[in-house]
């Protein structure tokens, strides 16, 4: 059936801010879908609250709304745009839930909008626990014994019936939010209570625990004619019990014989058929490792994280095909872009092995519980492709950027073997390495299998790697050609081989080149070479034939380094920048080559750059590509810290860095050089020193005077940054920082508590263009990525704007910046200080590009290639301010991460962001709060206030403001006294340590709308404040931890008017 001609205007729902469980994969999916729709002549209206996405670009959709993803705002957009259809299955769970809510409340019917692809009935069948179970029963697909309950008592009764342990899964939540395994009644009551609370429909599923079974996934696709295909099978290394998003996943399945494989494949096709899905679908199964017994665990009737992985693993563009199916096309009518000859109606077959490893945030959240379970915790993931499992594993480990280069965690060396064996029971992010270490110590694979339930085949592959290591250690000095070849075929890094053989890395390289052991590149073509394909999508191997296209296109080649896995501090923004740079370069007639390892991103879509190398972003892996492609230049400014870290290595390889040189990068990071530049430019900065040891740090801190900022240099997102108020803090922080080996010194700076201001600029060597000055709502001390950021600035005086412009210009010039520069300033005591300079793209670029309309990346790219701002038509100096206010609001994923302190500080904690755009600041603020799902209490609501002494004065005004709005104020003793003294009515509430009912009971009771708690210093977790903040998160009570944020919330409530919020099409700005 060809395209349905009645579909002319489609509303595409995005997935909102990046949170754990819902990351960049939906930008990838949404972008691909929008392009597929436009390709068919459909007018596309897009709504997504996340400004850092590529899908919210003007050239991706015809109408773009960066608006809160809630029923009110989307209803308004439907009224304004009158689309005939809505595409709900590409915006993750958020998009799906929103579409269902609009269907259920009659909005879609009222405006004559239909759901494309999968019908509401189908979605309901797949999403509703009982509905799904009934459907599975009707087609004879086994589910795990389970029951849907709506009360904690109901949960306990059912668990008693089926026996512990049981798994608790809340209905309609992301990434299994709030779920868990309960081993006894008390733990069940706790988990069930949380789950019921978090579920949109107040339901949780209690099911038989099948932990230890194999977890197998199938990505399947169906069209309106009923054609069904399987795209990709995946097997989790971690058996059932670990959320698939936190599991190491291999594609295709490795330990299933044809019979089991076909059994599950057929089951997946039967399921998608029974559900009547038109589009993509993900089916997860648990398979008993000792029989044919299996159970359907979960079905996602939409494009998911797994489908992004499946797309990249196979080369099959799932989101694009799903979008075409939604328009009415059948699979055999959609061409296969990879081969150009065949159609989308076939099943990809692989001739390589793909491995995904989740990127967990425990390097950042050092205090968080590392235990993995049914609650997803990963912020991102890496994928690697090789022709062996071992190779894919070694590449994926390197791609994680966790200072681990092989299947070996140095800290485990210190453990005794029996301690290692004990560690095997811990299901956490380090288990892979613990298993490897156990094998290294001679623990038998059978024994490890009995503890971990990891399949013996995987253990044998690990063993193979360890045997290889031992073979290399044995040939101390110089490995023979055979050993070296085998090691390279397993994708051992030269540096690791060198370490094992006690050779220099460069000597390993020279030796293997002498033996003729050089990388070759293979193509990902969806069909295992059965058809001729020209996809420029490559991975490295050490097999003979090199398929990388060496044809000279006559164009200059530019290498663009991507930003690797999504992690806190380096999010989707950098993919936005990389992709835009690629597009700019292509428009300028360059041949573009992108290197990246993140399967969730747009940049790793094979039709973005002219060539895609899916490889780890290490100097050695990049060098292989450099030697293959011999690029004319490289771009490192856009790929965050991942790319910029490689600037020096690229320079050493002889690849010219386009734009700011690696020396300029170093000058900005090297404290002494940077101080010298500041002196030259007569720019003040807070006093500071560089130190290595705790003793030096203490001396420096006392010289400068407390409070001081402590942070490692060359890091992301303020990693490890803290404010120290005394010697004890210093000792504490230095210990934590030095847990990981520091190659660079640690910075100790005077902490100035002023107004923080941030600029992004483009500098061409002479002129500077500043698209806009952003002001942070929170004072210095809260990481810029966690601050609410406002554009245009509200409080910055013109004279300071001039100073900022001059400083930015002078610094850019002095550092030799060509391209982007990002500077954070503090205005303190009527003086502008520089806090930090980043000669690269920043996380504010996408948002500021969208609200000002200045194509920043395009300009930066042109400037890097030698063009001058004066010729580019966007002027220079400070760009005129927009007519709108845009408020960027951070979004956190604290409910997913137990034991993480939610208090904001110098270290970044947010995972994503939303934008609020409106004509006035309060309205923009209100929108942003709505987008971030932070609700300010209304009349009759209740706030608990408990703030540290320094904030008590300011808390009075805020409390009074809320009280005047008719909100009841509750406060703990100290705060309460202050408020009462100031004449603000206030009800005292007992402290955590006091008798019940105390503050914790209040939070748990569900009668509190907001907690305002500003943290006292330090990283300790046993404080009352920590417990209060965690309790708020766990009971879904809004919690504000900076006094400025609380004030902003009050402003939004006092001056913002929900009724008057107007959706804004940013393409018309």
């Amino acid at each position: 059936m060809p395209k349905d001609p009645s579909i002319k205007k489609v509303l595409v729902l995005g997935s909102g801010p990046i949170v754990i469980g819902q990351a960049a994969e939906f930008d990838y999916a949404g972008t691909q879908a929008c392009r597929a729709l436009k390709e068919e002549g459909v007018e596309v209206v897009l709504v997504n609250s996340n400004p850092a996405t590529i899908m919210t670009d003007k050239d991706i959709a015809d109408h773009v709304y960066i608006e809160p993803l809630n029923v009110d705002s989307v209803t308004q957009i439907i009224q304004m745009e009158r689309p005939d259809s809505v595409l709900p299955t590409l915006g993750g769970q958020t998009g799906l839930n929103l579409a269902m809510a609009l269907h259920e409340n009659g909005t879609l019917a009222k405006y004559g909008v239909r759901l494309l692809g999968t019908s509401p009935q189908s979605i309901h069948k797949a999403e509703d626990r009982q509905g799904f179970k009934d459907c599975m029963e009707s087609i004879g697909q086994p589910c795990v014994t389970s029951d849907v309950v709506e009360s904690v008592d109901g949960a306990a009764a059912f668990a008693e019936q089926i026996g512990y342990p049981v798994i608790v899964r809340p209905a309609y939540t992301l990434g299994g939010t709030g779920g868990g395994i309960a081993y006894d009644e008390p733990s069940l009551r706790e988990i069930a209570d949380r789950g019921i609370h978090l579920s949109r429909v107040g339901q949780v599923l209690i099911e038989r625990c099948i932990a230890g079974w194999k977890e197998i996934e199938f990505e399947v696709m169906r069209d309106s004619a009923g054609n069904v295909i399987q795209i990709c099978s995946m097997e989790n290394l971690d058996p059932v019990g670990v959320h698939t998003g936190d599991s190491i996943v291999v594609a295709p399945t490795q330990t299933l014989a044809n019979r089991e494989y076909q059994m599950l494949r057929s089951a997946a096709l039967d399921i998608i058929t029974a559900l009547g899905i038109e589009g993509g679908c993900n089916c997860q199964f648990a398979l008993n490792p000792d029989s044919y017994e299996y159970a359907v665990i979960e079905v996602n009737p939409r494009v998911s994280r797994s489908s992004a992985l499946a797309s990249k693993a196979t080369g099959y563009p799932i989101a694009k095909v799903a979008a075409k199916i939604a328009l009415g096309f059948t699979l055999d009518e959609i061409p296969n872009a990879v081969t150009g000859k065949t159609t989308a109606c076939f099943e990809p077959t692989l001739d390589y092995c793909v491995l995904k490893i989740p990127r967990l945030p425990f390097d950042k959240f050092t205090t968080a519980s590392r235990t993995l379970g049914t609650q997803m915790k990963a912020t991102g993931e890496v994928m690697a492709i090789a022709n062996s499992f071992e190779g894919a594993l070694m590449k994926a480990i390197r791609s994680l950027e966790l200072n681990v280069r092989a299947l070996r965690l140095p800290k485990l060396d210190e453990y005794y073997t029996d301690e290692i064996e004990d560690l095997l029971v811990n299901v956490d992010d380090e288990r892979l390495f613990v298993v490897a270490e156990a094998l290294r110590r001679g623990v038998s694979p059978r024994k490890i299998n009995s503890i971990t339930k990891m399949d013996l085949w995987f253990l044998d592959r690990f063993k193979n790697i360890i045997d290889m290591e031992e073979a290399l250690i044995r040939c101390k000095g110089e490995p023979d050609a055979d050993a070296l070849r085998r090691a390279k075929e397993m994708c051992f890094a030269d540096s690791y081989i060198g370490w094992l053989c006690q050779m220099e890395q460069k000597d390993v390289k020279a030796l293997r080149e002498r033996y003729g052991i050089v990388p070759s590149f293979k193509m990902v073509d969806t069909c295992a070479a059965e058809f001729d394909a020209e996809t420029p999508y490559y991975y490295s191997s050490y097999d003979g034939e090199n398929e990388a296209d060496a044809r000279d296109t006559g164009k200059k080649k530019v290498l663009v380094l991507g930003s690797g896995p999504i992690r806190i501090g380096q999010g989707i923004e950098f993919d936005y920048c990389s992709v835009h740079s690629v597009w700019a370069l292509k428009r300028l007639g360059y041949e573009t080559i992108i290197v990246n390892n993140n399967p969730e991103t747009v940049s790793t879509d094979f039709d973005v750059a002219d060539k895609l190398y899916f490889e780890p972003l290490t100097a050695e892996d990049v060098q292989n590509i450099v030697e293959q492609e011999k690029p004319w230049g490289a771009v490192v400014q856009f790929g965050g810290q991942t790319a910029i870290k490689l600037a020096k290595a690229l320079t050493d390889m002889g690849v010219p860095i386009l734009g700011t040189s690696s020396d300029g990068v170093d000058a900005a990071e090297d404290r002494e050089r940077f101080d010298e530049i500041l002196n030259q430019c007569h720019i003040p900065r807070a006093k500071g020193q560089t130190v290595f040891t705790t003793e030096e740090a203490l001396r420096a801190a006392n010289e400068i005077g407390y409070p001081v900022l402590v942070r490692p240099s060359y890091v992301l997102g303020g990693q490890g940054m803290e404010i120290a108020y005394n010697d004890r803090n210093i000792t504490d922080f230095m210990r934590i920082i030095n847990l990981t080996v520091q190659e660079h010194p640690i910075l100790i700076d005077k902490y100035l508590m002023g107004r923080e201001v941030e600029v992004d600029g483009v500098f061409d060597g002479e002129d500077l263009l500043i698209p806009g000055i952003m002001e942070h709502v929170e004072r210095a001390g809260v990481h810029s990525g966690d601050s609410i950021s406002v554009y245009p600035s509200i409080h910055v005086e013109d004279k300071h704007k001039k100073t900022i412009e001059r400083y930015t210009h002078d610094l850019a010039k002095a550092l030799g910046v060509i391209g982007l520069i990002n500077i954070q300033f503090i205005i303190y005591d009527d003086q502008v200080y520089v806090i930090e300079v980043n000669p690269r793209s920043s996380r504010t670029i996408p948002y500021i590009s969208k609200v000002t309309g200045v194509p920043i990346i395009d300009l930066a790219t042109k400037v890097m290639l030698g063009q001058k701002l004066r010729d580019l038509g966007w002027g220079y100096g400070l760009y005129r301010e927009a007519d709108y206010f845009a408020v960027k609001m951070p979004v956190f994923s604290f409910e997913k991460l137990a034991d993480v302190d939610t208090g904001l500080g110098p270290e970044m904690k947010s995972t994503g962001e939303v934008l609020g755009i409106a004509e006035s600041f309060p309205q923009a603020l209100l929108k942003a709060f709505k987008g971030a799902n932070m609700r300010a209490p209304k009349k009759g609501g209740r706030i608990i206030l408990t703030v540290k002494d320094e904030d008590k004065g300011e808390a009075v005004g805020i409390a009074r403001g809320f009280a005047d709005l008719g909100v009841e104020i509750l406060a703990t003793e100290g705060t309460c006294r202050t408020l009462e003294k100031a004449g603000v009515p206030c009800t005292p509430v007992a402290r955590v340590s006091e008798a019940h009912p105390n503050i914790m009971d209040m939070i748990a009771s569900g009668t509190i709308d907001l907690v305002i708690n500003t943290p006292t210093r330090g990283r300790r977790q046993n404080t009352d404040g920590f417990k209060i903040r965690r309790a708020a998160v766990e009971h879904s009570v809004g919690c504000v931890t900076a006094i400025d944020t609380a004030r902003a919330l009050l402003t939004a409530r006092q001056q913002g008017r929900s009724r008057d919020l107007q959706a804004i099409d940013i393409t018309k700005i």
């Binding site: 004619a225 009923g226 054609n227 069904v228 295909i229 399987q230 295709p252 399945t253 490795q254 330990t255 299933l256 014989a257 044809n258 019979r259 089991e260 494989y261 076909q262 494949r265 057929s266 096709l269 490792p289 000792d290 029989s291 059948t330 699979l331 055999d332 000859k341 065949t342 159609t343 109606c345 076939f346 099943e347 990809p348 077959t349 692989l350 001739d351 390589y352 092995c353 022709n387 062996s388 499992f389 399949d455 013996l456 085949w457 044998d460 293979k522 069909c527 295992a528 070479a529 059965e530 058809f531 001729d532 097999d543 003979g544 034939e545």
Partner: protein, 371 residues
């Protein structure tokens, strides 16, 4: 031990010997299935051929007695990128390497199987030799390769005596005669589990004997239908068999044929077959059922194909086509109750999406419980 694969075009691939350590000449074909190596090795259609697996990790789940598709493996050689030293699966009874050695199949691992697949795809299926000899005379090898032809394979793989299989589900519902040109066991099973009693006949059994029916006591009970199996080699080589197939066709008995059987019936009714460049071998081939307007993913293994232009429209029409290359995948004969497909509805290995064709065959036989 090192081993070498030499192809008829002079290409040489070096690797490590797996399986039997002897020299072997065969026709090299590639298969893109990611699972099912044991079913492939034991599929009689591979007689005389060496199989290159394009998926690089083989032997992961070992071998077991349940996954044999016939009484022994028939492939001459196996070429893989990596052979797993251990097999891990609850049904695993041994490793693939040992299995190859036990059954005298030669093999080589460590080969750039993707490069080899591309070569076979672009230059076509060709003969090859695997040898462990360190030195060999190129001229001699080339002569051996040039002289080799897959022939007489149906005679080699078929059974000597008829064999009766009772139904595995339901009561005796229908009697089916299944011609063994190299039949896969799962074809028998697909019929048995649909309540058929299946008598498998040697390839050269005269049509008259089949049409006489099954001897029950003193009487002969006619078969309800005849199925022509898959099998190896060039269909046109089977001149005598084609005559018998013609007789079966003319008898009017319900007929269903798969793969080689499909080609034999086409030849028996005047159409032609030709050798494809590299054939279809794998588990991901899309086939469109023209009548239903739907596509199915099928399991395939054939190097020859019925030439659509030579099918007499009065005799049959093309019912299924390959979505990728448009080749003939199925014929529906004008004669009642007669249809054939090129692909493998019995799968094993591969997708089971077209198993419904067995139901169609059952229905075409009429009578029975569900009539």
């Amino acid at each position: 031990m090192k081993a070498t694969l030499i192809l008829a075009n002079g290409a040489v691939f070096r690797g490590d010997a797996i399986g039997a350590l002897e020299e072997r000449v065969c026709e090299m074909v590639f298969n893109t299935s990611m699972t099912g190596y044991q079913e492939i090795l034991t599929d009689p259609s591979y007689a005389g051929q060496g199989v290159v697996m394009s998926y690089p990790l083989m032997g992961n789940y070992g071998v077991n007695h349940e996954d044999n598709e016939s009484r022994r493996p028939w492939a001459e050689a196996l070429v893989v990128r990596h052979l797993s030293p251990v097999g891990s699966n609850f049904r695993c009874e041994g490793g693939l390497g040992d299995y190859l050695r036990q059954h005298n199949i030669v093999g080589i691992q460590g080969v750039d199987t993707r490069a080899l697949t591309k070569l076979l795809r672009s230059q076509g299926t060709m003969n090859g030799m695997i040898t462990c000899a360190e030195h060999f005379h190129v001229q001699e090898v080339m002569e051996k390769l040039a002289a080799y032809r897959v022939s007489g394979t149906v005679e080699r793989v078929t059974r000597e005596e008829p064999q009766v299989y009772a139904p595995t589900a339901g009561s005796l519902d229908r009697r089916v005669a299944l011609m063994d040109y190299g039949v896969k066991q799962n074809m028998v099973e697909c019929l048995r589990k649909r309540g058929c009693e299946v008598t498998v006949f040697p390839a050269h059994t005269p049509a008259a004997e089949i049409l006489r029916g099954e001897r029950v006591g003193a009487d002969y009970v006619p078969y309800d239908g005849v199925m022509l199996s898959n099998g190896p080699g060039d269909p046109a080589d089977n001149v005598d068999i084609i005559k018998e197939v013609r007789a079966l066709y003319e008898s009017g008995i319900p007929l269903f044929a798969v793969c080689l059987g499909h080609q034999l019936l086409a030849l028996a009714t005047g159409a032609k077959t030709h050798k494809m460049v590299f054939g279809h071998r794998g588990g991901n081939h899309p086939v469109k059922d023209l009548e239903a307007g739907r596509c199915f993913i099928t399991s395939q293994n054939h190097g020859y194909v019925v030439d659509g232009d030579t099918v007499d429209p009065a005799v049959a029409r093309v019912s299924h086509v390959n979505v990728n290359d448009g080749t003939v995948e199925g014929l529906k004969y004008s004669r009642p109750n007669c249809f054939t497909v090129q692909f493998h509805p019995e799968a094993s290995p591969g997708p089971e999406d077209t198993e419904y064709l067995f139901d169609r065959f059952i229905a075409s036989m009429g009578g029975g419980r569900n009539a």
